[in-house]
């Protein structure tokens, strides 16, 4: 048995699962101190199931806590930054393109030192150990405990970052060090940015992980806990304390993974209809398709693995307004739905709840798709308007489906989220509509069923190794990373493999990205 928890901006959801079976679910408001919300939600599902804490083998938590902290610039540490690059990398110093307020808060000190690697692994220069030591002493004197170290082509060979970390640790034992090679992909600025972000969250991560531990202890849950990351896989407590940045944008991923699990589908479109927006994503082999564009978080450019999500302004609280028909047919009733929404004020403002605003939820009640509030308040509603609004909702969603699909074949569509009631029957572009039971807590379920993953992103020489051997090596390394992180070796599957030849360079240099995932060992 395991428990999945989703700590969102508004709600903290929990789900207790026995294998594939959902035993109990609970939705509660998120609390200012994350811990007590988690305790309340877990206690509720334990009580509902009648199970004792000893039957729980693992707790999986999805949280937007770190993303929000960074975006809101809360409790960020100033960072001592070391870039191992000289004589290269001088043209663009660290933090160059950061928003001024963040730069002032997070940019504690910057040292550019000699070292780094070429694309083929040759050293650019030997690591300037004296310069690293000097930086470490300076960071210590300034009281900078958060340290970010990045080195050119660290994804190809991380040895200089590791050596520099050893030097810093020796001279500055309190330092919390983040290495770029363990965080990100090729693309120095984006990887370095993520490394600095991570370092700035390091202390908070330790506190949050401690509060998770305390919450579980309070519940007498003597089991490991894991936190979900943005690619739909899990990290253990120790890893999340070191790499909080990897939780960024895990929310939409969990919701899509939860939808995949609940529906039993691996290739489908998922529509999560909330109060204000519908998030549409595509599942490929059980995982969300990733976005290919650089993602800004809090104004900082990163190359995180993010799901490719299309958000449209349609939710259970969207406003519905009649609009006049076209000039040639003024009698025709047509409506506009959204993009504005009453949001969390739905229970006060919707007509069925005694308010004055006509919302999509009112339309659903009037059409008999849902029952809530007082339907008699909708007695005078024009039937033509209701029909037009339903047609408009279908039009918006089928447009979104079409934009997200990668082939003309109709795909199954999984509907989750509280707003799923808005859809009547099927949708154009959908082979069929699947409305899984417990779709309202898909996020927590996504956290509960997440797997363990490992990824490599390196440049290989096809001329030296040959293509087959290079790909085999990349797969092997990805699998080894997953197993080290706690995956069951027998369940490892290569989920993703991408080859990008390095243009303009003869010599068969190819960048390979491989991702391996597996079930958690021993649960």
């Amino acid at each position: 048995m395991r428990i999945g928890v989703d700590v969102g901006g508004t709600n903290t959801d929990a789900v207790l699962m026995d294998g594939r079976r959902v035993v109990a679910t609970y939705k509660s408001p998120t609390t200012a101190d994350v811990g007590s919300g988690i305790v309340a939600a877990i206690r509720a599902v334990l009580d509902a199931s009648g199970l004792g804490p000893e039957s729980i083998k693992a707790v999986m938590i999805g949280t937007t806590h770190f993303t929000n902290a960074f975006v809101e610039r809360k409790r960020l540490l100033p960072v001592g930054i070391i870039r191992i690059a000289l004589p290269a990398g001088k043209g663009l110093p660290p933090l160059m393109d950061w928003p001024e307020d963040l730069k002032a808060g997070v940019g504690g000190d910057v040292a550019l030192v000699g070292g780094g690697r070429e694309f083929d692994g040759r050293p650019i220069a030997p690591l300037d150990e004296a310069a690293v030591a000097e930086a470490a002493r300076r960071f210590r004197a300034k009281g900078l405990t958060a340290v970010a170290i990045s080195s050119i082509f660290a994804p190809v060979n991380p040895d200089m970052e590791e050596r520099a970390a050893a030097i810093v640790r020796e001279l500055h034992p309190d330092a919390l060090i983040t290495l770029s090679g363990s965080i990100g992909r090729i693309g120095m600025l984006e990887r370095e940015n993520a490394t600095i972000m991570n370092a700035s969250l390091a202390e908070m991560a330790r506190h949050v992980v401690a509060s998770f531990h305390a919450a579980l202890a309070e519940l007498k849950l003597d089991c490991p806990f894991f936190v979900s990351q943005n690619d739909g896989t899990l990290m253990n407590a120790e890893t999340v304390a070191r790499f909080p940045v990897l939780t960024f944008a895990s929310g939409p991923t969990n919701s899509m993974r939860g939808a995949a699990y609940l529906s039993g589908l691996t290739d489908a479109l998922v529509i999560d209809i909330g109060g204000t927006t519908s998030d549409v994503g595509m599942l490929v082999k059980g995982f969300p398709r990733e976005s290919s564009v650089a993602v800004d978080i809090g104004g900082v450019r990163t190359n995180f693995r993010m799901p490719d999500i299309l958000s449209i302004g349609l939710g259970g609280g969207s406003r519905v307004r009649p609009v006049e028909g076209p000039a040639e047919n003024p009698g025709e009733v047509s409506v506009r739905v959204g993009p504005d929404s009453v949001g969390y004020r739905l229970p006060q403002e919707a007509r069925v709840f005694g308010g004055e605003v006509l919302t999509t939820s009112d339309i659903a009640v009037a059409a008999g798709l849902a029952s809530m509030g007082d339907p008699s308040r909708l007695a005078g509603l024009d039937r033509g308007l209701v029909a037009s609004a339903l047609a408009e909702i279908r039009r918006l969603l089928s447009g979104a489906i079409d934009r997200m699909k990668t082939s003309a074949t109709d795909l199954p569509v999984v509907l989750v989220g509280g707003g799923a009631i808005l859809v009547d029957g099927t949708l154009p572009g959908a082979a069929r509509i699947v409305r899984p039971e417990n779709g309202g807590v898909a996020n927590a379920i996504g956290a509960a069923i997440a797997q363990i993953g490992g990824e490599v992103d390196r440049v290989y020489s096809y001329q030296e190794l040959g293509r087959e051997a290079a790909i085999a090596k990349a797969k092997e390394e990805a699998a080894a990373i997953a197993v080290r992180a706690g995956a069951d070796p027998g369940s490892i599957d290569i989920r993703d493999l991408e080859e990008v030849p390095l243009a303009y360079l003869p010599g068969g240099a190819v960048r390979i990205r491989a991702k391996a995932v597996g079930d958690m060992a021993g649960i």
Binding site: A85, P87, A88, G89, K90, G91, L92, P93, M96, D97, G116, E118, F119, D120, I124, A125, I152, F153, I186, G187, M188, L189, M282, R289, S292, V293, A294, R301, D308, D402, R403, M404, K405, T406, S407, A408, G429, V459, V500, P501, L502, A503, Y504, L505, P506, G507, G508, A509, V510, R511
Partner: protein, 364 residues
């Protein structure tokens, strides 16, 4: 038109150059940051129009040659940029009086701005392609008989080579070999020329053009239709006015292979709801030809660019992904790019496409 090279202008030029780069030329983000960094340190360089150059001006080009992946990792653009030009000045004995861009695409569009700012020299509002091309013989300077060499290659170690070659293609081949040894990305200065030669061989106004395109897209986003704004701007220019949205759809197939060190590939795009892909784009770093329903609708050297359907952000061939939603835009190029000599240098057949160039205005 004089350009004020403010930071917002750099953003617009980078976006405009990404459009003109037709998918190639590397990540314009890096070029923009390099220029921005230099501007903050040294102030903005003056921009000089091609026709205002004295005939005896000494012009030097600057570019980065190498793999975009190396550029985004090593952040090329440090001291080697200044060194390449310095090495060439030493070789010719003529100190630079202005910096001349060689290509208006990706990273290389803004590198001259960075160097001009550092050196306190003007940057010329012109270049040798009005777009991006993969090889250094593919430039109007070569078409008009300006020798590519002497040229200098420099890296971050302070190493440099001055090359003399029998022709531009041979210079390209030698440089390509040297780049590997020198770290995968080097600064390069080639085609040193006088003001009189530039007036004959360069394409005027291309820095302004990139700026105008970038500004049009940005203004169009605010007004709600970046594509209409972009096409409206192009239609108001002398040479790029034959332009159109060639296709609107979703990438449904993407084949890449690496041959002779180039990223060569084919991208198939299907219209929304269509069962089969109806648009095919062939690329070799840059997009070369767009075929709709099997029929060519735009072909190199005319411009073929894929843009994000929502934002009109130009997409580089490196970042193309299965499932992306794009619009394809085609546009004409200046007559100097379409002459028989120019087509022999960078027309369809120089990229292995066995068909004749046809102007986009005859195809759409």
């Amino acid at each position: 038109m004089t350009i004020d090279l403010s930071i917002p202008a750099l953003h617009d030029i980078a976006r405009g150059a990404a459009f003109l780069g037709t998918g190639g030329g590397g990540d314009p983000y890096i070029g923009r940051l390099l220029a921005q960094h230099a501007l903050a340190k040294y102030g903005a360089p003056p921009v000089v129009a091609l026709q205002d150059l004295p005939d005896d001006a000494n012009l030097y080009t600057i570019a980065i040659m190498g793999a975009p992946t190396v550029m985004v990792e090593k952040l090329v653009g440090g001291d080697e940029v200044g060194l390449a030009v310095k090495a060439l000045e030493q070789h010719t004995g003529r100190p630079a009086t202005a910096i001349l861009p060689v290509e208006m695409g990706g990273i290389n569009s803004l590198l001259p701005v960075k160097l001009a700012a550092e050196r306190g020299l003007p940057v010329v509002d012109a270049d040798g392609m009005g777009r991006a091309f993969p090889e250094l013989q593919m430039v109007t300077f070569n078409v008009m008989g300006i020798p590519a060499t002497p040229m200098a290659l420099a890296n971050e170690h302070g190493e440099y080579n001055v090359i003399s070659a029998r022709d531009a293609k041979s210079a390209e081949d030698m440089a390509r070999l040297m780049v590997i040894h020198m770290g995968g990305g080097v600064a390069l200065s080639c085609y040193p020329m006088s003001g009189a030669e530039a007036k004959r061989a360069a394409i005027p106004g291309t820095l302004s053009l990139a700026l105008g395109i970038g500004q049009a897209i940005a203004a169009g986003r605010r007004a709600g239709d970046p594509f209409e704004a972009l096409l409206g701007y192009l239609r108001g220019t002398d040479y790029y006015r034959h332009c159109a949205v060639l296709f609107d759809g979703k990438i449904v197939d993407l084949v890449r292979e690496t041959t002779r060190g180039f990223s060569i590939g084919r991208c198939s795009i299907a219209a929304d709801g269509a069962a089969t892909a109806d648009m095919e784009i062939l690329f070799q770093n840059e997009n070369l030809v767009a075929r709709r329903g099997g029929r060519t609708v735009a072909i190199v050297p005319d411009l073929v660019t894929m843009l994000d359907r929502e934002t009109a952000e130009p997409i580089t061939t490196e970042s193309l992904k299965y499932g992306q939603r794009v619009r394809v835009i085609g546009a004409s190029v200046p007559p100097i790019m379409r002459s028989p000599a120019a087509l022999a240098c960078f027309g369809p057949r120089s990229f292995g496409i066995e068909e004749d160039f046809q102007p986009i205005e005859d195809l759409i």
